[in-house]
Amino acid sequence: MQRTTSFGSVIVERITGNPAASVVMVGSLVLAVVIGVFGGAAQLVNAVVTGGMWALLAVGLALIFGVANVPYFAHGESFMIGAYVAFFVFDPIKTYLQDNSNPLLFALGPFAAVLAAGVVGFALGVGLERLLFYPLRQRTKAGEWVMNAFLLTLGISFVIINGTTLVLGPNFQGIPYYWAVDPLELESLEVRVTVDRLVSFGIAIITIVALWFFLRRTRIGRAIRAVAQDEVGAQLVGINLNFVYVLTFGLATATAAIAGASLLSIFQAYPTVGLIPLYTAWYVVILAGLGNVAGAIAGGFIVALLQTATQQWVGIGWANVVPIAAMVLVLLIVPSGIFGSEVKGVQEQ
């Protein structure tokens, strides 16, 4: 029997199957065009680059929620730790480069910092899962898991933020730029983008694509998706749940740390730097649909577009209020999120 589904029919099916998503996506594209035309290409570039950042953060959050059913409110802390690691790795490199010229180090040094942040982030996620979430899973009854896990992540957040303040101090630690080159310019469109922002966007996209590929094409990725769908079923086919949880946490925290590291020159590193990324990632995940990893990617860009449009035309003070008001309206119509939520085991609570 031959399958005769054409590409076009799949698209039509997707659109008619989820009208809310289609409306929102078309609306966002229109908004992007409006921003580009009336706000200037620079604003559009700004929105897209920011969108990549939110998408990367939201993907990790959606992954943890979808697979381990944990409302992870310490995600910003992985971002923060990534930023600090990148700082401590790159600062000596930067000092060295001031006196000696080494083109290879100049070009690749920042990537070493980002990579180091990713490794440390992964280790952090693995550690948290084994030390804290594993005993919680052993001891909690099914009905109380969500709130207990949520409060556990709050406790983790308090400890990490204030522990960092204690040990490293509350001051901003940062670098003015990763690459001491002029920003890239496109005179005709009045666009100036610093190399740092461009590369951070590139890193975000590459990481998202790599994660996507991992989840879709590898066996372990399939195992993760299976656990996200149905834990018991996954166990029945012989998937090691603990391994999947550890890996998922590690991946999520690693992506957040990579985000924090790649944005070091823009956000700097200080104990509470992760809070805004945390809240925004949560807005994206709630809007896109709890646990929906693909939706989180699109949602990141949508939220960034909304924020940019608001800043441009309503005022900077309203940058969070208007997008959130819009999200409230969307959620009243489609409460499970635009792209549909895939929460398992959250009982009627």
Binding site: V159, L166, I286
Partner: protein, 350 residues
């Protein structure tokens, strides 16, 4: 026999008191603690002004915890925008009390009246929000409540003509005194009013409906209860009291900014109190709030060279409680009390 009859007579007086208290949900130990609490500010070292301030903040947090637990413990919905309702009551009352040309509203209404208007406004918003969102699963209502709270805080920050934004308001105080003592008794009375009212509600058939909805909404529906209607009533009541408490805060502290009242972190404070105290017990959050406020303030003032250590300790406590004692203080107390009573009755039998 004469002696037993005399004994019965004595016991019945005591019994009436105990039964009267239990009818309003106060166990003997709770009554004793309340009396101790009421007398505490008259006893050194608690009669210092800063200690009394801590007591007031403890009672304020305790009352909020009771109102919060009414929703999270009974209908199993976490009102993650709780602080926004508190702030709404605070700002309503403060704006109505204003009689200076700083704001466009200059009504100069007395805070004692404005308090109730603030509570009403918060309750009405809770009613509206609940009606819109409580037909969904609890987690979606929680997310929406959070978003509405943030939008409210952002609006408060940005409407200078009404709220003076981040500059804040300085509402008039409830009383003309500079001492903290009368304020403590006011908030203590408010705490009692909130607790007793909500306790009595949980003892009615409506309270039974709440519990049924919280435990198994489908079974409740099958028994003929309209879950949405009861959830909305519960939510609105909780928000009403949140607004009332917010008004107290505004007219006690006399200084109000959006971030100090409406921020998500304020909801988190109340939330953690409720869960560490024991969700669903209503009194657990109350009991834990006082030592918590004292401990945090004591640590913060005595560990000035180690900033944030008190929050690290708090975080560690929260982690340990959630992993090892998820039922909270109330569950631990109940198990200890049962064990104790078991030992007592056991000994009497032998």
């Amino acid at each position: 026999m004469a002696s037993t009859q005399a004994a019965k007579g004595n016991r019945s007086a005591w019994d009436t008191i105990v039964r009267g208290l239990e009818a309003v949900g106060i166990k003997p130990l709770g009554a004793v603690s309340l009396v101790v609490l009421a007398l505490l500010p008259l006893v050194p070292p608690f009669n210092q002004e800063h200690m009394m301030r801590w007591l007031i903040m403890g009672a304020y947090l305790a009352a909020q915890a009771v109102a919060f637990d009414f929703t999270s413990g009974y209908i199993n919905v976490v009102n993650f925008g709780f602080a926004a309702f508190v702030g709404l009551g605070a700002y309503t009352s403060a704006i109505l009390a204003n009689d200076t040309p700083l704001l466009i509203v200059q009504l100069g209404i007395s805070p004692w009246i404005g308090m109730w208007i603030g509570a009403l406004v918060a309750g009405l918003l809770g009613l509206g929000l609940g009606a819109l969102t409580l037909r969904l699963r609890g987690i979606f209502a929680a997310c929406l409540a959070w978003f509405v709270g943030i939008a409210l805080m952002g609006t408060a920050r940005n409407t200078m003509s009404l709220t003076r934004g981040a500059l804040g308001l300085h509402p008039p105080r409830l009383l003309e005194t500079t001492s903290n003592l009368p304020y403590f008794y006011i908030i203590l009375v408010m705490l009692l009013v909130v607790y007793v009212t909500l306790r009595l509600v949980t003892r009615t058939r409506m309270g039974l409906a709440f519990r049924a909805i919280g435990q198994n909404i489908d079974a409740a529906r099958a028994s003929g209860i309209n879950p949405t209607r009861y959830r909305v009533i519960n939510f609105a009541l909780s928000c009403f009291f949140a607004g009332l408490l917010g008004s107290f805060y505004a007219h006690y502290l006399a200084s109000l900014t959006p971030d100090t009242v409406m921020h998500t972190s304020k909801t988190v404070e109340v939330l953690t109190m409720v869960y560490i105290g024991g969700r669903g017990s209503m009194w657990g959050g109350m009991a834990v709030a006082f030592p918590f406020v004292f401990l945090m303030n004591y640590l913060r003032s005595n560990l000035e060279d180690l900033p944030g250590l008190h929050l690290v300790i708090f975080g560690v406590v929260m982690i340990l409680v959630m992993i090892y004692y998820p039922g909270g203080f109330a569950a631990v107390y109940d198990s200890v009390a049962t064990w104790f009573k078991g030992r007592l009755t056991g000994e009497r039998r032998t």
